[in-house]
Protein backbone atom coordinates (compact mmCIF):
# COMPACT_ATOMS: atom_id res chain seq x y z
CA UNK A 1 0.00 0.00 0.00
CA UNK A 2 1.02 3.55 -0.49
CA UNK A 3 0.15 5.56 2.56
CA UNK A 4 -0.96 5.28 6.19
CA UNK A 5 -2.40 8.26 8.05
CA UNK A 6 -2.05 8.29 11.85
CA UNK A 7 -3.71 10.72 14.27
CA UNK A 8 -1.72 12.02 17.25
CA UNK A 9 -3.52 13.94 19.97
CA UNK A 10 -1.70 16.10 22.50
CA UNK A 11 -3.02 15.20 25.96
CA UNK A 12 -2.04 15.48 29.62
CA UNK A 13 0.55 12.76 30.25
CA UNK A 14 -0.98 9.55 31.56
CA UNK A 15 1.17 9.66 34.71
CA UNK A 16 -0.31 13.00 35.80
CA UNK A 17 -3.05 12.77 38.42
CA UNK A 18 -5.52 15.26 36.98
CA UNK A 19 -7.39 17.46 39.46
CA UNK A 20 -10.47 19.63 39.13
CA UNK A 21 -9.77 23.34 39.77
CA UNK A 22 -11.13 24.51 43.11
CA UNK A 23 -13.61 26.87 41.42
CA UNK A 24 -15.01 24.05 39.25
CA UNK A 25 -14.17 25.87 36.01
CA UNK A 26 -12.08 23.07 34.55
CA UNK A 27 -9.18 20.77 35.32
CA UNK A 28 -5.72 21.91 36.31
CA UNK A 29 -3.51 21.82 33.21
CA UNK A 30 -1.07 24.68 33.87
CA UNK A 31 2.51 23.47 33.86
CA UNK A 32 1.39 19.87 33.52
CA UNK A 33 3.44 17.50 31.34
CA UNK A 34 1.87 16.94 27.91
CA UNK A 35 2.41 13.86 25.72
CA UNK A 36 1.09 11.95 22.75
CA UNK A 37 -2.12 10.14 23.71
CA UNK A 38 -0.79 6.64 24.59
CA UNK A 39 -3.25 4.85 22.28
CA UNK A 40 -2.13 7.10 19.40
CA UNK A 41 1.48 6.17 20.10
CA UNK A 42 0.51 2.51 19.66
CA UNK A 43 -1.28 3.45 16.41
CA UNK A 44 1.88 5.10 15.10
CA UNK A 45 4.07 2.19 16.14
CA UNK A 46 1.81 -0.19 14.21
CA UNK A 47 1.96 2.02 11.11
CA UNK A 48 5.75 2.20 11.32
CA UNK A 49 6.04 -1.58 11.61
CA UNK A 50 3.84 -2.02 8.54
CA UNK A 51 6.01 0.42 6.58
CA UNK A 52 9.25 -1.11 7.83
CA UNK A 53 8.04 -4.55 6.70
CA UNK A 54 7.71 -3.02 3.23
CA UNK A 55 3.91 -3.16 3.21
CA UNK A 56 3.51 0.62 3.02
CA UNK A 57 5.55 3.43 1.51
CA UNK A 58 4.81 6.37 3.76
CA UNK A 59 3.47 7.18 7.23
CA UNK A 60 1.94 10.63 7.74
CA UNK A 61 1.05 11.89 11.22
CA UNK A 62 -1.71 14.44 11.76
CA UNK A 63 -2.56 16.42 14.86
CA UNK A 64 -5.40 18.84 15.47
CA UNK A 65 -4.80 21.38 18.20
CA UNK A 66 -2.83 24.39 19.36
CA UNK A 67 0.58 25.32 17.98
CA UNK A 68 2.21 23.47 20.90
CA UNK A 69 1.03 20.18 19.40
CA UNK A 70 4.06 20.51 17.11
CA UNK A 71 6.02 18.95 19.99
CA UNK A 72 3.99 15.76 19.79
CA UNK A 73 4.29 15.70 16.00
CA UNK A 74 8.08 16.09 16.31
CA UNK A 75 8.07 13.14 18.68
CA UNK A 76 6.08 11.21 16.08
CA UNK A 77 8.62 12.14 13.43
CA UNK A 78 11.41 11.06 15.76
CA UNK A 79 9.69 7.71 16.21
CA UNK A 80 9.90 7.35 12.43
CA UNK A 81 6.95 9.02 10.70
CA UNK A 82 7.86 10.48 7.30
CA UNK A 83 6.02 13.78 7.59
CA UNK A 84 3.59 15.65 9.77
CA UNK A 85 0.58 17.92 9.42
CA UNK A 86 -0.77 20.18 12.14
CA UNK A 87 -4.27 21.53 11.74
CA UNK A 88 -4.07 24.52 14.03
CA UNK A 89 -7.03 25.22 16.31
CA UNK A 90 -7.24 27.24 19.51
CA UNK A 91 -8.11 24.11 21.46
CA UNK A 92 -8.79 20.46 20.68
CA UNK A 93 -12.14 20.26 18.88
CA UNK A 94 -15.17 18.10 19.70
CA UNK A 95 -15.09 14.56 18.20
CA UNK A 96 -17.41 15.30 15.26
CA UNK A 97 -15.44 18.38 14.21
CA UNK A 98 -12.24 16.38 14.68
CA UNK A 99 -13.63 13.68 12.41
CA UNK A 100 -14.59 16.27 9.76
CA UNK A 101 -11.08 17.72 9.87
CA UNK A 102 -9.57 14.24 9.55
CA UNK A 103 -11.91 13.54 6.62
CA UNK A 104 -10.55 16.63 4.87
CA UNK A 105 -7.01 15.33 5.49
CA UNK A 106 -8.08 11.95 4.11
CA UNK A 107 -9.46 13.62 0.97
CA UNK A 108 -6.18 15.47 0.47
CA UNK A 109 -3.78 12.64 1.32
CA UNK A 110 -5.81 9.66 0.05
CA UNK A 111 -4.39 7.11 2.53
CA UNK A 112 -5.09 3.37 2.17
CA UNK A 113 -5.39 3.04 5.93
CA UNK A 114 -6.07 5.37 8.85
CA UNK A 115 -4.90 4.20 12.27
CA UNK A 116 -6.04 6.03 15.41
CA UNK A 117 -6.05 5.34 19.14
CA UNK A 118 -9.28 3.81 20.43
CA UNK A 119 -9.81 6.80 22.72
CA UNK A 120 -8.00 9.86 24.03
CA UNK A 121 -7.23 9.66 27.73
CA UNK A 122 -8.35 13.26 28.40
CA UNK A 123 -12.02 13.28 27.43
CA UNK A 124 -12.36 9.47 27.15
CA UNK A 125 -14.94 9.96 24.37
CA UNK A 126 -13.92 7.11 22.05
CA UNK A 127 -15.79 8.61 19.09
CA UNK A 128 -13.46 10.14 16.51
CA UNK A 129 -12.42 6.99 14.62
CA UNK A 130 -15.95 5.66 14.31
CA UNK A 131 -17.18 9.08 13.17
CA UNK A 132 -14.46 9.44 10.57
CA UNK A 133 -15.36 6.00 9.20
CA UNK A 134 -19.05 6.99 9.07
CA UNK A 135 -18.46 10.32 7.30
CA UNK A 136 -15.99 8.67 4.91
CA UNK A 137 -18.43 5.80 4.25
CA UNK A 138 -15.66 3.27 4.92
CA UNK A 139 -15.19 0.28 7.29
CA UNK A 140 -14.18 0.68 10.91
CA UNK A 141 -12.41 -1.85 13.08
CA UNK A 142 -12.25 -0.54 16.63
CA UNK A 143 -10.35 -1.72 19.73
CA UNK A 144 -7.88 -3.68 17.58
CA UNK A 145 -5.16 -5.84 19.09
CA UNK A 146 -3.87 -7.30 15.82
CA UNK A 147 -3.83 -6.12 12.23
CA UNK A 148 -2.91 -8.20 9.17
CA UNK A 149 -2.88 -6.72 5.67
CA UNK A 150 -3.64 -8.71 2.56
CA UNK A 151 -3.69 -6.64 -0.62
CA UNK A 152 -6.97 -4.77 -0.75
CA UNK A 153 -8.19 -6.20 2.56
CA UNK A 154 -7.22 -6.22 6.22
CA UNK A 155 -8.05 -8.75 8.89
CA UNK A 156 -8.39 -7.18 12.31
CA UNK A 157 -8.57 -8.86 15.72
CA UNK A 158 -10.77 -6.80 18.02
CA UNK A 159 -10.86 -6.96 21.81
CA UNK A 160 -14.58 -7.17 22.62
CA UNK A 161 -16.34 -7.82 25.93
CA UNK A 162 -16.91 -11.49 25.19
CA UNK A 163 -13.45 -12.26 23.80
CA UNK A 164 -11.65 -11.74 20.50
CA UNK A 165 -13.52 -10.92 17.31
CA UNK A 166 -12.09 -11.31 13.82
CA UNK A 167 -13.31 -8.77 11.28
CA UNK A 168 -12.39 -8.49 7.60
CA UNK A 169 -12.49 -5.02 6.07
CA UNK A 170 -11.94 -3.71 2.56
CA UNK A 171 -9.37 -0.94 2.29
CA UNK A 172 -9.30 1.95 2.78
CA UNK A 173 -10.52 1.62 6.34
CA UNK A 174 -10.22 3.15 9.80
CA UNK A 175 -8.63 1.03 12.53
CA UNK A 176 -8.57 2.15 16.18
CA UNK A 177 -6.09 0.39 18.40
CA UNK A 178 -6.16 -1.05 21.90
CA UNK A 179 -3.31 -1.38 24.37
CA UNK A 180 -2.10 -4.85 23.52
CA UNK A 181 -1.41 -4.26 19.84
CA UNK A 182 2.28 -3.52 20.35
CA UNK A 183 4.79 -1.78 22.57
CA UNK A 184 5.87 1.57 21.10
CA UNK A 185 9.59 2.13 20.53
CA UNK A 186 11.67 4.56 22.54
CA UNK A 187 12.95 7.57 20.69
CA UNK A 188 16.74 7.86 20.45
CA UNK A 189 18.64 11.15 20.44
CA UNK A 190 19.91 10.92 16.83
CA UNK A 191 16.29 10.36 15.74
CA UNK A 192 15.24 13.55 17.50
CA UNK A 193 17.94 15.45 15.56
CA UNK A 194 16.81 13.86 12.30
CA UNK A 195 13.16 14.65 13.04
CA UNK A 196 13.94 18.37 13.06
CA UNK A 197 14.63 18.18 9.33
CA UNK A 198 11.46 16.29 8.43
CA UNK A 199 8.56 18.27 6.91
CA UNK A 200 5.85 19.58 9.27
CA UNK A 201 3.06 21.46 7.50
CA UNK A 202 0.81 23.82 9.42
CA UNK A 203 -2.71 24.42 8.22
CA UNK A 204 -5.07 26.98 9.76
CA UNK A 205 -8.46 25.47 10.58
CA UNK A 206 -10.20 28.49 8.98
CA UNK A 207 -8.62 27.63 5.60
CA UNK A 208 -10.42 24.26 5.57
CA UNK A 209 -13.91 25.79 5.61
CA UNK A 210 -15.19 23.32 8.19
CA UNK A 211 -18.04 24.49 10.37
CA UNK A 212 -18.17 23.16 13.90
CA UNK A 213 -21.98 22.93 14.08
CA UNK A 214 -23.95 22.31 17.25
CA UNK A 215 -21.66 21.23 20.05
CA UNK A 216 -22.47 19.95 23.52
CA UNK A 217 -21.28 22.38 26.15
CA UNK A 218 -19.66 21.48 29.45
CA UNK A 219 -21.36 23.52 32.17
CA UNK A 220 -19.64 22.22 35.31
CA UNK A 221 -16.63 20.23 36.53
CA UNK A 222 -16.53 18.44 39.86
CA UNK A 223 -14.18 15.97 41.53
CA UNK A 224 -15.43 12.39 41.80
CA UNK A 225 -16.69 11.04 45.10
CA UNK A 226 -13.75 9.64 47.00
CA UNK A 227 -13.81 6.27 48.69
CA UNK A 228 -12.80 6.28 52.32
CA UNK A 229 -9.84 4.23 53.46
CA UNK A 230 -11.22 1.27 55.40
CA UNK A 231 -9.76 -0.93 58.10
CA UNK A 232 -6.81 -3.30 58.03
CA UNK A 233 -7.35 -6.77 59.42
CA UNK A 234 -4.52 -8.93 60.70
CA UNK A 235 -5.51 -12.38 59.48
CA UNK A 236 -8.02 -14.40 57.45
CA UNK A 237 -10.25 -14.98 60.48
CA UNK A 238 -10.43 -11.21 61.01
CA UNK A 239 -11.28 -10.66 57.35
CA UNK A 240 -14.04 -13.26 57.35
CA UNK A 241 -15.48 -11.76 60.56
CA UNK A 242 -15.42 -8.25 59.06
CA UNK A 243 -17.14 -9.46 55.88
CA UNK A 244 -19.79 -11.31 57.88
CA UNK A 245 -20.37 -8.21 60.00
CA UNK A 246 -21.11 -6.22 56.88
CA UNK A 247 -23.53 -8.88 55.66
CA UNK A 248 -21.37 -9.83 52.69
CA UNK A 249 -21.33 -13.57 53.36
Amino acid sequence: MDKILVGLKRVVDYNVRVRVKSDGSGVETDGVKMSINPFDEIALEEALRIRDRGEAREVVVVSIGPSDAQQQLRTGLAMGADRAILVETSSAPDPLTGARILLEMVNREKPDLVILGKQAIDNDNSQTGQMLAALWGRPQATFASKLALDGTKATVTREVDSGLELLEVDLPAVVTVDLRMNEPRYVKLPDIMKAKKKPLDQIALASLGISTGAVASVTAFEPPQQRQKGVMVSDVAGLVAAMKDKGLL
Binding site: V27, E159, L167, G230
Partner: protein, 314 residues
Protein backbone atom coordinates in the same frame (compact mmCIF):
# COMPACT_ATOMS: atom_id res chain seq x y z
CA UNK B 1 -42.51 14.75 23.53
CA UNK B 2 -39.49 12.77 24.66
CA UNK B 3 -39.12 9.55 22.69
CA UNK B 4 -36.18 7.32 23.53
CA UNK B 5 -34.92 4.47 21.38
CA UNK B 6 -32.72 1.96 23.21
CA UNK B 7 -30.55 -0.26 21.00
CA UNK B 8 -30.64 -3.79 22.41
CA UNK B 9 -27.39 -5.72 22.81
CA UNK B 10 -27.75 -9.46 22.29
CA UNK B 11 -25.99 -12.51 20.89
CA UNK B 12 -28.89 -13.71 18.75
CA UNK B 13 -30.23 -15.87 21.58
CA UNK B 14 -30.33 -13.83 24.74
CA UNK B 15 -30.63 -10.19 25.62
CA UNK B 16 -27.48 -8.81 27.24
CA UNK B 17 -27.98 -7.41 30.75
CA UNK B 18 -26.69 -4.07 29.43
CA UNK B 19 -30.04 -3.40 27.75
CA UNK B 20 -31.98 -3.32 31.04
CA UNK B 21 -29.44 -0.78 32.32
CA UNK B 22 -29.92 1.41 29.25
CA UNK B 23 -33.68 1.31 29.85
CA UNK B 24 -33.07 2.38 33.46
CA UNK B 25 -31.08 5.37 32.19
CA UNK B 26 -33.76 6.17 29.60
CA UNK B 27 -36.45 6.05 32.30
CA UNK B 28 -34.60 8.79 34.17
CA UNK B 29 -35.24 11.21 31.29
CA UNK B 30 -38.37 13.18 32.27
CA UNK B 31 -41.46 12.15 30.32
CA UNK B 32 -39.69 9.50 28.26
CA UNK B 33 -41.65 7.10 26.07
CA UNK B 34 -39.18 4.22 25.62
CA UNK B 35 -38.90 1.81 22.71
CA UNK B 36 -36.30 -0.95 22.36
CA UNK B 37 -34.90 -1.88 18.95
CA UNK B 38 -33.74 -5.47 18.39
CA UNK B 39 -31.67 -5.77 15.22
CA UNK B 40 -30.88 -9.36 14.40
CA UNK B 41 -31.15 -12.11 11.82
CA UNK B 42 -34.12 -13.71 13.52
CA UNK B 43 -34.73 -11.61 16.59
CA UNK B 44 -37.99 -13.13 17.73
CA UNK B 45 -36.64 -14.80 20.86
CA UNK B 46 -34.62 -11.75 21.91
CA UNK B 47 -37.52 -9.41 21.13
CA UNK B 48 -39.84 -11.52 23.28
CA UNK B 49 -37.39 -11.32 26.15
CA UNK B 50 -37.17 -7.54 25.67
CA UNK B 51 -40.95 -7.09 25.93
CA UNK B 52 -40.69 -7.78 29.66
CA UNK B 53 -38.31 -4.87 30.34
CA UNK B 54 -40.16 -2.67 32.83
CA UNK B 55 -41.06 0.81 31.67
CA UNK B 56 -40.91 0.38 27.89
CA UNK B 57 -43.92 0.76 25.61
CA UNK B 58 -42.77 -1.10 22.50
CA UNK B 59 -40.17 -3.48 21.07
CA UNK B 60 -39.23 -3.02 17.44
CA UNK B 61 -37.89 -6.17 15.81
CA UNK B 62 -35.79 -5.62 12.67
CA UNK B 63 -34.81 -8.87 11.04
CA UNK B 64 -32.20 -8.92 8.29
CA UNK B 65 -29.65 -11.58 7.36
CA UNK B 66 -27.02 -8.81 7.41
CA UNK B 67 -27.72 -8.31 11.14
CA UNK B 68 -26.72 -11.87 12.08
CA UNK B 69 -23.71 -10.50 13.86
CA UNK B 70 -23.46 -6.88 15.07
CA UNK B 71 -21.25 -5.01 12.61
CA UNK B 72 -21.31 -1.27 13.34
CA UNK B 73 -21.07 -0.22 9.68
CA UNK B 74 -24.13 -2.36 8.87
CA UNK B 75 -26.26 -1.50 11.92
CA UNK B 76 -25.57 2.25 12.01
CA UNK B 77 -27.43 3.28 8.82
CA UNK B 78 -30.50 1.29 9.92
CA UNK B 79 -30.50 2.93 13.37
CA UNK B 80 -29.91 6.38 11.87
CA UNK B 81 -33.00 5.88 9.71
CA UNK B 82 -35.10 4.69 12.69
CA UNK B 83 -33.84 7.65 14.71
CA UNK B 84 -35.95 10.13 12.75
CA UNK B 85 -38.91 9.33 15.01
CA UNK B 86 -36.98 9.79 18.29
CA UNK B 87 -35.45 12.55 20.41
CA UNK B 88 -32.91 10.26 22.10
CA UNK B 89 -31.01 7.15 20.95
CA UNK B 90 -29.19 5.24 23.70
CA UNK B 91 -26.86 2.26 23.66
CA UNK B 92 -24.68 0.62 26.30
CA UNK B 93 -21.11 1.71 26.96
CA UNK B 94 -19.92 -1.82 26.27
CA UNK B 95 -17.65 -2.67 23.33
CA UNK B 96 -20.86 -3.21 21.30
CA UNK B 97 -22.25 0.26 22.02
CA UNK B 98 -18.92 2.08 22.03
CA UNK B 99 -18.23 0.73 18.54
CA UNK B 100 -21.70 1.38 17.14
CA UNK B 101 -23.16 4.53 18.68
CA UNK B 102 -20.55 7.10 17.53
CA UNK B 103 -21.11 5.85 13.98
CA UNK B 104 -24.85 6.47 14.45
CA UNK B 105 -24.15 9.91 15.95
CA UNK B 106 -21.98 10.94 12.99
CA UNK B 107 -24.71 9.90 10.54
CA UNK B 108 -27.12 12.08 12.54
CA UNK B 109 -24.66 14.96 12.50
CA UNK B 110 -24.24 15.18 16.29
CA UNK B 111 -21.60 14.40 18.88
CA UNK B 112 -22.27 11.54 21.24
CA UNK B 113 -22.63 11.89 25.00
CA UNK B 114 -20.32 9.05 26.10
CA UNK B 115 -20.65 7.13 29.38
CA UNK B 116 -23.76 8.79 30.84
CA UNK B 117 -23.60 8.28 34.60
CA UNK B 118 -26.53 10.50 35.59
CA UNK B 119 -29.45 12.19 33.86
CA UNK B 120 -30.13 15.74 35.07
CA UNK B 121 -32.65 16.71 32.39
CA UNK B 122 -33.68 15.83 28.87
CA UNK B 123 -30.44 17.32 27.46
CA UNK B 124 -28.25 17.49 30.57
CA UNK B 125 -26.06 14.63 31.73
CA UNK B 126 -23.10 13.83 33.94
CA UNK B 127 -20.16 11.86 32.58
CA UNK B 128 -16.60 11.06 33.68
CA UNK B 129 -13.44 12.33 31.98
CA UNK B 130 -9.73 11.78 32.70
CA UNK B 131 -10.30 8.17 33.79
CA UNK B 132 -12.94 9.31 36.26
CA UNK B 133 -10.72 11.93 37.93
CA UNK B 134 -13.26 14.57 36.98
CA UNK B 135 -17.01 14.50 36.44
CA UNK B 136 -18.49 16.97 33.97
CA UNK B 137 -22.03 18.18 33.42
CA UNK B 138 -22.72 18.24 29.70
CA UNK B 139 -25.54 20.00 27.91
CA UNK B 140 -26.45 18.55 24.52
CA UNK B 141 -27.57 21.13 21.96
CA UNK B 142 -31.33 21.69 21.83
CA UNK B 143 -33.19 20.85 18.65
CA UNK B 144 -30.86 17.95 17.76
CA UNK B 145 -31.20 14.25 18.53
CA UNK B 146 -29.31 13.12 21.63
CA UNK B 147 -27.11 10.07 21.02
CA UNK B 148 -25.55 8.58 24.12
CA UNK B 149 -23.89 5.56 25.66
CA UNK B 150 -24.82 4.51 29.19
CA UNK B 151 -22.11 3.80 31.77
CA UNK B 152 -22.88 0.30 33.00
CA UNK B 153 -21.53 0.71 36.55
CA UNK B 154 -23.88 3.66 37.16
CA UNK B 155 -27.20 1.87 36.62
CA UNK B 156 -29.10 -1.10 37.92
CA UNK B 157 -31.12 -2.81 35.22
CA UNK B 158 -34.91 -2.45 35.26
CA UNK B 159 -36.80 -5.59 36.30
CA UNK B 160 -38.70 -7.88 33.94
CA UNK B 161 -42.28 -7.12 34.90
CA UNK B 162 -43.09 -5.25 31.67
CA UNK B 163 -45.58 -6.33 29.02
CA UNK B 164 -44.74 -4.34 25.91
CA UNK B 165 -45.90 -5.29 22.42
CA UNK B 166 -43.59 -6.23 19.57
CA UNK B 167 -43.75 -4.57 16.19
CA UNK B 168 -41.85 -5.91 13.21
CA UNK B 169 -40.24 -3.36 10.96
CA UNK B 170 -38.12 -3.38 7.84
CA UNK B 171 -35.85 -0.53 7.02
CA UNK B 172 -35.25 0.45 3.43
CA UNK B 173 -31.66 1.54 3.46
CA UNK B 174 -28.67 0.30 1.51
CA UNK B 175 -26.22 -1.68 3.67
CA UNK B 176 -22.49 -1.76 3.00
CA UNK B 177 -20.65 -5.01 2.25
CA UNK B 178 -17.17 -3.68 2.96
CA UNK B 179 -17.04 -5.02 6.52
CA UNK B 180 -17.40 -8.73 7.21
CA UNK B 181 -17.63 -10.62 10.49
CA UNK B 182 -15.37 -13.69 10.44
CA UNK B 183 -15.45 -15.21 13.90
CA UNK B 184 -15.75 -14.67 17.63
CA UNK B 185 -13.43 -16.49 19.95
CA UNK B 186 -15.31 -16.26 23.22
CA UNK B 187 -14.06 -17.44 26.55
CA UNK B 188 -16.36 -20.23 27.75
CA UNK B 189 -17.14 -20.13 31.40
CA UNK B 190 -19.76 -21.50 33.76
CA UNK B 191 -18.93 -18.70 36.16
CA UNK B 192 -21.07 -15.56 36.52
CA UNK B 193 -20.61 -12.82 33.93
CA UNK B 194 -17.94 -10.34 35.03
CA UNK B 195 -20.00 -7.28 34.10
CA UNK B 196 -23.13 -8.20 36.01
CA UNK B 197 -21.88 -10.44 38.85
CA UNK B 198 -22.60 -9.31 42.39
CA UNK B 199 -19.27 -10.75 43.53
CA UNK B 200 -15.96 -10.52 41.70
CA UNK B 201 -12.53 -11.88 42.60
CA UNK B 202 -9.60 -10.42 40.62
CA UNK B 203 -5.95 -11.35 40.45
CA UNK B 204 -2.91 -9.30 39.50
CA UNK B 205 0.66 -9.64 38.37
CA UNK B 206 1.69 -11.04 41.75
CA UNK B 207 0.02 -14.35 40.83
CA UNK B 208 3.07 -14.94 38.64
CA UNK B 209 1.62 -17.44 36.17
CA UNK B 210 -1.42 -18.81 34.46
CA UNK B 211 -1.26 -21.95 36.65
CA UNK B 212 -1.06 -19.93 39.86
CA UNK B 213 -4.19 -18.05 38.79
CA UNK B 214 -6.00 -21.27 39.70
CA UNK B 215 -6.19 -20.15 43.33
CA UNK B 216 -8.20 -17.10 42.21
CA UNK B 217 -10.65 -19.31 40.31
CA UNK B 218 -11.02 -21.64 43.30
CA UNK B 219 -11.72 -18.76 45.69
CA UNK B 220 -14.24 -17.33 43.21
CA UNK B 221 -16.00 -20.68 42.90
CA UNK B 222 -16.21 -20.99 46.68
CA UNK B 223 -18.37 -17.84 46.83
CA UNK B 224 -20.03 -17.97 43.41
CA UNK B 225 -18.06 -15.01 42.08
CA UNK B 226 -16.96 -13.93 38.62
CA UNK B 227 -13.22 -13.69 37.93
CA UNK B 228 -11.40 -10.57 36.78
CA UNK B 229 -7.81 -9.48 36.38
CA UNK B 230 -5.60 -6.42 36.31
CA UNK B 231 -4.10 -5.21 33.05
CA UNK B 232 -0.69 -6.44 34.21
CA UNK B 233 -2.03 -9.99 34.60
CA UNK B 234 -3.62 -9.89 31.13
CA UNK B 235 -0.52 -8.37 29.51
CA UNK B 236 1.58 -11.11 31.13
CA UNK B 237 -0.68 -13.69 29.48
CA UNK B 238 -2.01 -15.25 32.69
CA UNK B 239 -5.63 -14.80 31.55
CA UNK B 240 -7.44 -13.61 28.39
CA UNK B 241 -8.29 -9.98 27.59
CA UNK B 242 -12.00 -10.22 28.33
CA UNK B 243 -11.17 -10.58 32.02
CA UNK B 244 -9.49 -7.18 32.29
CA UNK B 245 -10.99 -4.76 34.80
CA UNK B 246 -10.12 -1.06 34.59
CA UNK B 247 -10.23 2.10 32.50
CA UNK B 248 -9.50 0.23 29.28
CA UNK B 249 -11.15 -3.02 30.30
CA UNK B 250 -14.45 -3.52 32.06
CA UNK B 251 -15.84 -0.98 34.50
CA UNK B 252 -17.81 -2.89 37.11
CA UNK B 253 -19.87 -2.25 40.22
CA UNK B 254 -20.30 -5.52 42.16
CA UNK B 255 -21.49 -5.74 45.76
CA UNK B 256 -18.18 -7.34 46.70
CA UNK B 257 -14.84 -6.95 44.93
CA UNK B 258 -11.83 -8.91 46.17
CA UNK B 259 -8.51 -7.70 44.72
CA UNK B 260 -5.66 -10.15 45.13
CA UNK B 261 -2.08 -9.25 44.34
CA UNK B 262 -3.23 -6.07 42.62
CA UNK B 263 -1.31 -2.94 43.59
CA UNK B 264 -4.10 -0.61 42.46
CA UNK B 265 -2.93 1.54 39.54
CA UNK B 266 -5.26 4.49 38.96
CA UNK B 267 -6.46 2.86 35.74
CA UNK B 268 -7.51 -0.25 37.68
CA UNK B 269 -9.20 1.77 40.44
CA UNK B 270 -11.24 3.54 37.74
CA UNK B 271 -12.81 0.21 36.93
CA UNK B 272 -13.84 -0.69 40.50
CA UNK B 273 -14.60 2.50 42.36
CA UNK B 274 -18.36 1.92 42.24
CA UNK B 275 -18.06 -1.47 43.95
CA UNK B 276 -20.06 -1.56 47.20
CA UNK B 277 -17.26 -3.19 49.21
CA UNK B 278 -13.62 -3.65 48.22
CA UNK B 279 -11.39 -6.23 49.91
CA UNK B 280 -7.67 -6.21 49.16
CA UNK B 281 -4.98 -8.78 49.83
CA UNK B 282 -1.43 -7.70 48.99
CA UNK B 283 2.03 -8.28 50.36
CA UNK B 284 2.90 -4.57 50.13
CA UNK B 285 1.15 -2.63 52.90
CA UNK B 286 1.81 0.62 51.04
CA UNK B 287 0.03 -0.48 47.85
CA UNK B 288 -2.48 2.15 46.66
CA UNK B 289 -5.25 -0.46 46.58
CA UNK B 290 -5.38 -0.16 50.39
CA UNK B 291 -6.34 3.53 50.07
CA UNK B 292 -9.70 2.51 48.59
CA UNK B 293 -10.23 -0.90 50.21
CA UNK B 294 -12.87 -1.30 52.92
CA UNK B 295 -10.96 -4.26 54.32
CA UNK B 296 -7.26 -4.80 53.78
CA UNK B 297 -5.05 -7.74 54.61
CA UNK B 298 -1.26 -7.62 54.18
CA UNK B 299 0.55 -10.88 53.55
CA UNK B 300 1.53 -13.67 51.19
CA UNK B 301 -1.38 -14.32 48.85
CA UNK B 302 -0.29 -17.91 48.20
CA UNK B 303 -0.84 -18.64 51.89
CA UNK B 304 -3.82 -16.35 52.56
CA UNK B 305 -6.00 -17.08 49.53
CA UNK B 306 -6.29 -20.87 50.07
CA UNK B 307 -6.89 -20.14 53.76
CA UNK B 308 -9.68 -17.71 52.84
CA UNK B 309 -11.13 -20.22 50.39
CA UNK B 310 -11.29 -22.85 53.14
CA UNK B 311 -12.83 -20.40 55.61
CA UNK B 312 -15.51 -19.33 53.13
CA UNK B 313 -16.33 -22.88 52.08
CA UNK B 314 -16.98 -24.05 55.62
Amino acid sequence: MVKVLVIAEHDGKRLNASTAKCVACAAAIPGADIHVAVLGENGERVAREATSLAGISKVIQIDNAANAYPVAAVLAPQIAKLAAAYTHILGPSTTFGRDLMPRVAALLNVNQISDIMQVLGSHTFKRPIYAGNAIVTVEAPAGHPVVGTVRMASYRGVDNTGKAATERASIGVELPKHTRFISLQAGKSDRPDLQTASRVVSGGRALGSSENFGIIFRLADAIGAAVGASRAAVDAGFVPNEMQVGQTGKIIAPELYIAIGISGAIQHLTGIKDARTIVAINKDGDAPIFEVADFGLVGDLFKLVPELEQALKS
